[in-house]
Symmetry: C2
């Protein structure tokens, strides 16, 4: 199913129905990855610089693996795509593949909230998602440090993509109600912009859908209701209400705040 | 949920109930990854050496990314784990982490069916899984080559882990019915071993569970029955009946054929 949004066509990329479809589809991706992650205990050691000693690096194991993954994926031009933002921009390398010519869809901007995503993922999402299932008799398992960090890479990248998709949402809204937003931006009225992009009813629907999805994807349908629960459903809902939705709105607001900046193209 | 099997404890690693739990859990992992993969079209160009030119390598893009991923993960000791087998053993590097001392669980053996897994994945699984959804008006999308290859890495690694878990199944069965298997192995009776490890009733149950899972994880529960179908359910079932189950049994048989070989430890 070609569900990936076509970012090579500005009219499709900014169609709110397409964006909505992509955002809903990304919910599945995020839930799949977090379900995979909580197979393993919290393993806090991998998040502490020096917790696992890495020759030649002072990063934590989790950060080191994320940075190396970004280095590798930058070579197959991941970070040329307008919906991908790195956590470690300094490690990126020149792509080995021919560059693609994406059309200009977004206004030039430097919004990147990955540092906040990473912090909230470690401090809020993981402890809550892992808590319910961490068995006291087990604690950390060194054997799973690598697998755990690998799952974290997938979770963080999916969260980052979902949250930075807010830029497309913001651009589409800006094009739809340009005058309203220009006024708010000129007044630097971040609260007003936040109010203009917020739809509480839709947010409630998102959380309700998340709950249903986490329950469905997190249980074994052959076992019946709640069979072999793989994830704490409420932790998934909280991840969205406390991290994904607020940070998406932050991205939208900050993107719009840069929307009127003159650029070399204008 | 600490669902990862504890391979540092031989009694747990060879407990058939634990193995069964792990195999059922790996079904979810595989289904999640294949659902992610079929977001993108087949993109056959990435599987052809030279299809995407890679400076300094004559591998296809998909193989190159898999090899580089294995190189990176070997450094965090992925391939020291007794349930992980590389597709490109020649690229592996020395781990940067302290080695773990896994106890000896399996008999020394060189069974690795990854070449066959890769071939069947490309020739049988992908065309079928992608077919139903590939839109004629779209065909390949270069913008998704990297994402597609990244999903393939996840699928292939999950399939490989699931299929090579057959070694633990075989070892547990061998320990349970040693005399029976020793006789068959001495006679080099591969057919007899295959018959001894086959339980058609269980295989039928596995396929039925797969069908339920593919349907549940592949639809949006907020939309109702079959809502926003993300994957061709029968392609997932066929992947198991034609690839996963036969190759797992091949691994079991070939492992057992090496089970009586003297080693330096004996």
């Amino acid at each position: 199913m070609d569900t990936a949004i076509d970012l090579s066509d500005p009219s499709k990329a900014l169609d709110l129905a397409n964006i909505r479809f992509q955002l809903i589809r990304l919910e599945d991706t995020i839930i799949f990855h977090i379900i995979e992650r909580v197979q393993f205990p919290l393993n806090p050691t991998i998040y502490v610089p020096g917790g696992v000693e890495i020759p030649g690096s002072d990063l934590s194991l989790a950060d080191w693996l994320l940075a190396e993954q970004e280095r590798l994926q930058s070579r197959v031009r991941r970070y040329e795509a307008p919906d991908e933002y790195p956590f470690f921009p300094r490690v990126l390398e020149k792509p080995i593949l021919q560059p693609l010519s994406y059309p200009r869809i977004l206004h030039p901007n430097d919004v990147n909230v990955n540092a906040t995503i990473r912090q909230k993922y470690l401090q809020e999402v993981l402890p809550e998602a892992c808590r319910k299932f961490d068995r006291e008799d087990r604690g950390e398992t060194k054997e799973n440090y690598g697998s755990t960090a690998t799952c974290d890479v997938m979770c963080l990248q999916a969260l980052s993509r979902r949250i930075h998709f807010g830029k497309f949402v913001a651009e589409a809204k800006f094009q739809k109600e340009t005058k309203r937003f220009v006024d708010l931006i000129k007044k630097e009225d971040r609260k007003g912009i936040d109010a203009a992009i917020t739809n509480s009813e839709v947010e409630k629907q998102v959380l309700e859908r998340l709950r249903l999805k986490a329950k469905a994807y997190g249980s074994d349908p052959s076992v019946g209701e709640g069979g072999n629960e793989k994830i704490n459903t409420e932790a998934v809902v909280a991840m969205y209400s406390q991290v994904v939705i607020p940070l998406t709105k932050l991205v939208e607001v900050e993107y719009l705040m840069q929307r009127l900046t003159a650029t070399e193209w204008e």
